[in-house]
């Protein structure tokens, strides 16, 4: 498996340039791609979320704002310019720093969170050979990088000098760190079976055998533990207690506004995309076509199965998972802090550990 980074390096190496110029250039290109991806993802996902929530609530959602005079359809896809307008509004909005806040940390915090999300994209596979940099420890890298954000959350909550923010930060810290464990245990199960931390190898294993979700009853269970835990990890309802709009006003981002708040927003939706792509890669076969399992396609249609449509399949699976997360958000009430902790420590972690044990047995026996 090659990566974008490698292929760019090969391309540039033909030009006989100094490595000190080539490497920053490649890094810059990669960074721009990631940033654009995050921005576009936020724009699309926010619009998607608004429309999904609107249809669940018997509303229409945004219908007025268009792009260059094009408003979109009358019934479903109206108001396609709404999120763009929102983004512009956030960028030009007054940026407020409270007097008694810790100014340095408060400015720093959103960038730490953003950096966490940003760095995660480096190891994230979008399709076969379509990954910024291909690590042999990809899974480990992503788990590590996605936990960087919690430092930013704690800093944001503490530096705001606001009691609501402090509560939000404490809740977030407890919640995110706790839910890392079931996520880790579920991923460990996959790593154990596939024998590699590399996403390419994991997907290759699934191509050779079967999707992990269907591999054994234990991996089936592991997928659900993983999925619920990533919903908690990304602070979405029913696990959105750090923000808990009706309790803590806005939790750890109470005092933020304008551009810095936009960074939080960007990171939140970027995290949703990251965890959904990880879930679809690790458990749902990544860039493998679901049609492959049934072998029903005639000869001429086989390109659907092949790597050409890998990007499409990864995003389709991720979008379905994102939709399910939105579905959760607009139907469920919020859990309480202790119930959330109960779910993690007394349900998911024991089940995760037992899962790990039984899958080892399963591997030995079958």
């Amino acid at each position: 498996m090659t990566s974008i980074f490698d292929s760019l390096q090969i391309t540039f190496s033909g030009l006989n340039l100094d490595l000190m110029i080539v490497l920053p250039a490649i890094a810059l290109m990669g960074g721009t791609v990631i940033f654009l991806l995050m921005a576009v993802n936020a724009l699309v996902a926010v619009y998607f979320e608004r429309k999904v929530s609107a249809f669940m609530q018997d509303r229409l959602g945004p219908m007025e704002v268009g792009i260059l005079g094009f408003k979109g359809g009358k019934r479903f896809w109206g108001g396609i310019g709404q999120t763009l307008a929102d983004a512009i509004k956030l960028l030009v909005k007054e940026d407020i720093l409270p007097n008694d806040a810790d100014r340095v940390l408060m400015i720093l915090a959103p960038f730490i969170i953003f950096t966490g999300a940003f760095l995660t994209f480096i190891g994230l596979p979008f399709a076969e050979n379509l990954v910024i940099s291909d690590f042999n420890i990809g899974v480990f890298y992503i788990v590590a990088m996605s936990s960087v954000g919690v430092i930013g959350i704690i800093l944001a909550g503490w530096s705001s000098n606001n009691k609501w923010s402090l509560y939000g930060a404490m809740r977030a810290a407890a919640q995110i760190i706790s839910y890392e464990i079931p996520i880790g245990l579920s991923l460990l199960l996959v790593v154990l079976v596939a024998g590699s931390l590399n996403f390419g190898d994991i997907v290759q294993w699934q191509a050779d055998n079967r999707w992990f979700i269907f591999h054994s009853p234990f991996s089936f269970l592991a997928f659900f533990i993983f999925f619920i835990s990533i919903v908690a990890e990304t602070n979405r309802t029913p696990f959105d207690i750090p923000e808990a709009e009706s309790e803590l006003v806005a939790g750890w981002m109470t005092e933020y506004s304008g551009f810095r708040w936009a960074l939080f927003f960007l990171s939140e939706y970027a995290n949703m995309l990251i965890v959904s792509i990880v879930a679809s890669t690790v458990f749902l076969g990544g860039w493998l076509s679901p049609l492959q399992m049934f072998n029903v396609l005639p000869e001429a249609w086989l390109f659907l199965d092949g790597p050409t449509l890998g990007l499409f399949w990864v995003f389709l699976k991720a979008i379905i998972l994102i939709f399910v997360m939105m579905w959760f958000r607009w139907t469920f009430p919020r859990l309480r802090v202790d119930q959330l902790m109960y779910l993690c420590w007394k349900v998911f972690i024991p089940f995760g550990l037992a899962n790990l044990f039984f899958i080892s047995l399963w591997e030995l026996l079958f």
Partner: protein, 379 residues
């Protein structure tokens, strides 16, 4: 160094005072709760009210009896009809006048529609308080239909000024009864839908069952009334206990909390009583429409309201509980004193009793289940 860290005088753990409100998403208006917390656990809670005080009782000393009606509208802005009805009943008791049958029936229909509208907001915002957003938009959508009916009735959607001492301002508009029946036909399945979405949701039950248990005797002692008290299993409804208007003519039940999901009198019971009450209200409306007699609604409207000197205490079962109007007249057309007994005022006073020891999230749930309206508490 290690000893220093463990020393309590260096690292202090203590209570934190948290001001929830007056501007807060879940205090249902401008209520301020001074909460003493130890971590997430609330050790003491003190409601501070008065941010919406509009001198209702002082205004009443300068207004004639008819002019007070728009002010009662504004007391409980989610159930304005109930306030008007309660006030009109008290004034009529003071004037000692008989109303035409038709007026009484119209008032019952309108009041029960208002009860549905008010409970829909209560139920929806309770869902919002525990984090479910969609039930709120659904209930608001259904409430909109009731407001449309009221708009056809008197032109206003929130503050109606429709029920006057001695009658109502207009007779029913054409097609009103048909539209009401149509609404009821539409509304009954919506309750089932709400039950599916919210009432029987596992997370919702986890959040509300066993939380904020109000024992019946504590509730009565604090003067808690309405659905909040009936949630504790106390069969106390003025429509049955002290029937007014034409309520004896109707066959309806008073839903009581049974502790289905947890302890008797928990937040879930208080919530569910409201859901069941909406069905009962629909039942009453159907009967009232069937029995509605003809007649002139303005027949009993007094030319000028000038009661004899005396006092009266009128009681009324509003969506939030037992509304009382204590009116002292000195024989002029302006009352000497109007005191309103607001149900939410008493319902709120029990908050500090039942919510100590719970977490901040539970405080929100308990507050939501008590269904307070600040306009009525602060007057």
């Amino acid at each position: 160094m290690e000893e220093q860290l463990l020393d309590k005088s260096v690292i202090e753990t203590g209570e934190m005072v948290l001001n929830m409100g007056p501007q807060h998403p879940s205090t249902h208006g401008v209520l301020r709760l001074k909460i003493h917390t130890d971590g997430e656990v609330v050790s003491k809670i003190e409601p501070i009210i008065g941010y919406l005080h509009r001198c209702f009782e002082k205004h009443c000393e300068k207004l004639s009896y008819e002019q007070i009606v728009p002010f009662t509208d504004r007391c409980d802005y989610l159930a304005s009809m109930h306030m008007d009805h309660a006030y009109s009943l008290a004034v009529e008791k003071l004037l000692d006048i008989e109303l035409p049958e038709r007026v009484e029936y119209i008032r019952v229909i309108i009041s029960e529609l208002q009860r549905i509208a008010s409970h829909l907001v209560a139920v929806g915002t309770f869902g919002l308080d525990v984090g479910a957003i969609t039930p709120f938009t659904w209930t608001i959508r259904d409430r909109e239909r009731v407001l449309d009916l009221f708009e056809a009735l008197c032109g206003a959607r929130l503050l109606y000024n429709y029920i006057w001492p001695g009658g109502v301002s207009h007779d029913l508009p054409p097609k009103f009864l048909e539209r009401t029946i149509e609404f009821l036909e539409y509304f009954d399945p919506q309750i089932d839908e709400l039950n599916n979405l919210l009432t029987t949701n596992k997370i919702f039950i986890e959040r509300t069952a066993d939380v904020g248990v109000l024992p019946p005797e504590v509730g009565i002692n604090y003067g808690v009334t309405g659905p909040s008290l009936r949630g504790s299993g106390v069969n106390f409804d003025l429509r049955k206990n002290e029937p007014y208007s034409v309520y004896p003519n109707f066959d309806f039940d008073v839903p009581l909390g049974e502790g289905i999901m947890g302890t008797l009198g928990d937040s879930w019971d208080r919530y569910y009583v409201r859901v069941l009450e909406m069905r009962e209200s629909a039942k009453i409306i159907r009967q009232a429409i069937e029995q509605l007699p003809d007649g002139d609604v303005h027949a009993a409207l007094p030319k000028k309201v000038r009661p004899n000197a005396g006092e009266v205490y009128g009681r009324y079962e509003s969506a939030r509980g037992d509304v009382g109007f204590y009116i002292i007249s000195n024989g002029k057309n302006i009352p000497l004193r109007v005191k309103m007994r607001s149900p939410a005022f008493c319902n709120l006073s029990v908050l500090s009793e039942i919510s100590e020891g719970w977490m901040i999230s539970d405080i929100i749930a308990i507050l939501g289940s008590l269904d307070i309206v600040l306009g009525e508490i602060d007057r």
